[in-house]
Symmetry: C3
Subunit: 215 residues, 3 copies
Amino acid sequence: MIDYIFDIIRQIRFVEIIEFIGTFAFAISGVRGAATKKCDWFGAFVLGFVTAVGGGTFRDLLLGVTPFWMMNSIYVWCTLSSLLFYIFLREHLNHLNRFFFWSDSIGLGLFVVVGAEKAMILGYDSWVIVTMGTITAVLGGVIRDILLNKVPLIFKREIYASPCIVGGIFFVTLQFFNLNLPLISAITIGIVTFLRYVAVKWDLQIPKLKSEKSN
Amino acid sequence: MIDYIFDIIRQIRFVEIIEFIGTFAFAISGVRGAATKKCDWFGAFVLGFVTAVGGGTFRDLLLGVTPFWMMNSIYVWCTLSSLLFYIFLREHLNHLNRFFFWSDSIGLGLFVVVGAEKAMILGYDSWVIVTMGTITAVLGGVIRDILLNKVPLIFKREIYASPCIVGGIFFVTLQFFNLNLPLISAITIGIVTFLRYVAVKWDLQIPKLKSEKSN
Amino acid sequence: MIDYIFDIIRQIRFVEIIEFIGTFAFAISGVRGAATKKCDWFGAFVLGFVTAVGGGTFRDLLLGVTPFWMMNSIYVWCTLSSLLFYIFLREHLNHLNRFFFWSDSIGLGLFVVVGAEKAMILGYDSWVIVTMGTITAVLGGVIRDILLNKVPLIFKREIYASPCIVGGIFFVTLQFFNLNLPLISAITIGIVTFLRYVAVKWDLQIPKLKSEKSN
């Protein structure tokens, strides 16, 4: 019994730790983007926050539920830590690129799981579940790019959304097997992270759209 | 009785065919926009989808109902067809400009009707009904332009929103006469399409705003 | 009794007058922005409207209630007046800069109060109340800048959001004292307006984020 409770605590804590790290990595990417446009600390905070929670917020609006971050101030504190982290340690960020890449990738996978699970509980079709997972994971970055006045990166060099879509499809498919949710979630996160690693390592790209004149 | 049912089927199908053609035309305009910014296939799909369903999605969020495309996967398939259409037939698209113009215009009128009707059923004021019809029809194009990092076209050369507003006003006004909804809808679509044709043919424009210094 | 009713009437009217002036000032800033990008009258109207109601609309979507402007056409008329005002009096606008600054600042304070109060009534946490007040006040300007294809001004030279945040914190804190809502609202508006005046007068700025290479 005690062991069982311990297990739950450990599980919850593990997911929360991943979520914190993922949120932190997403927020850092917003803060770094803000720095390229000479934003001030306030703008950097907003950009970090929007990058971290923007996808989940839009998902919750589409699903008609209260945006998740309005029920828990942890996301504000997480963004604030990432801002302070940047301000005090920005000269050392380059040495941490590998760490950020892995945090960001694992966070990506976790956000797919969180979004897909939320849509699944509400009883939506499979393709909506995959879509909500993907929106949760990638839309924050799209809003960040819009605020920074750029064509969103993922529309041009897409090493970002496809792993989420594939991960979401796995998440939905694995429901038909006799697996428990934590295992399915772990597999999904693993697949998203792995695919993103592969895509970046071999510089895989989706074909570019040719213009109307070229043959 | 049989005839009556047949009539309904024919009617539904007719509206659905128009909606498919309209959605296709809107999606194609998103895909063509994506091509101008060298987006990849994924980005083109997203841009096509957002152009096609963005207006209705925002309308549904404002009205507090579940976004329409989450209940029916037809819009995804329609966007996918438009993407494949572009990829395989892009060299011939110029010969189809006339066809796209008419599809887009009729779609515009239909989207006004769909949006206005939805707001009317929910019991909103006349001016909200007109606004919802117009938002349904034009906001997808606005979001497309924001994503492509341009000042939205309809704010500068407005041959697009005014026909929708006029069509919406007709839609609301005709409710006071003893007409059935399909007829009112057909008249509205006709007016929007006709006004758009006239606006493009004679290059009608709304006066530009003068800057503060010029006299 | 009569006096009491008179008091209420006077109070309501006063708030409504401030709200009209604030909405007008916000709409004018959208219209002036539209003029810099050579938009037409329709685009200017939309930009004015979005600047005036965009913040409150997003707040209402987050809170899950019907956007406020869909229940009262006054905001449409107010935007229309600001457009006509610009069209006919644009050469004289420079002489009115001081008036617009004060209208805009007082409006900013009022919008903080309106947004914070709405979140408070719905029972949200203090930090959500402050956030909703700030979003109500500043998001319209952010959307205006996105539509005009610029990095939002408040992310770079932030004399705008901080006074709202401080005002929101006062609004929440003052609830714990034995004061009535109109007084708390008046104090909040006063603080926001004063802080903004101070920030502009002494050109106060939040520190800029340094880039990763500079020391």
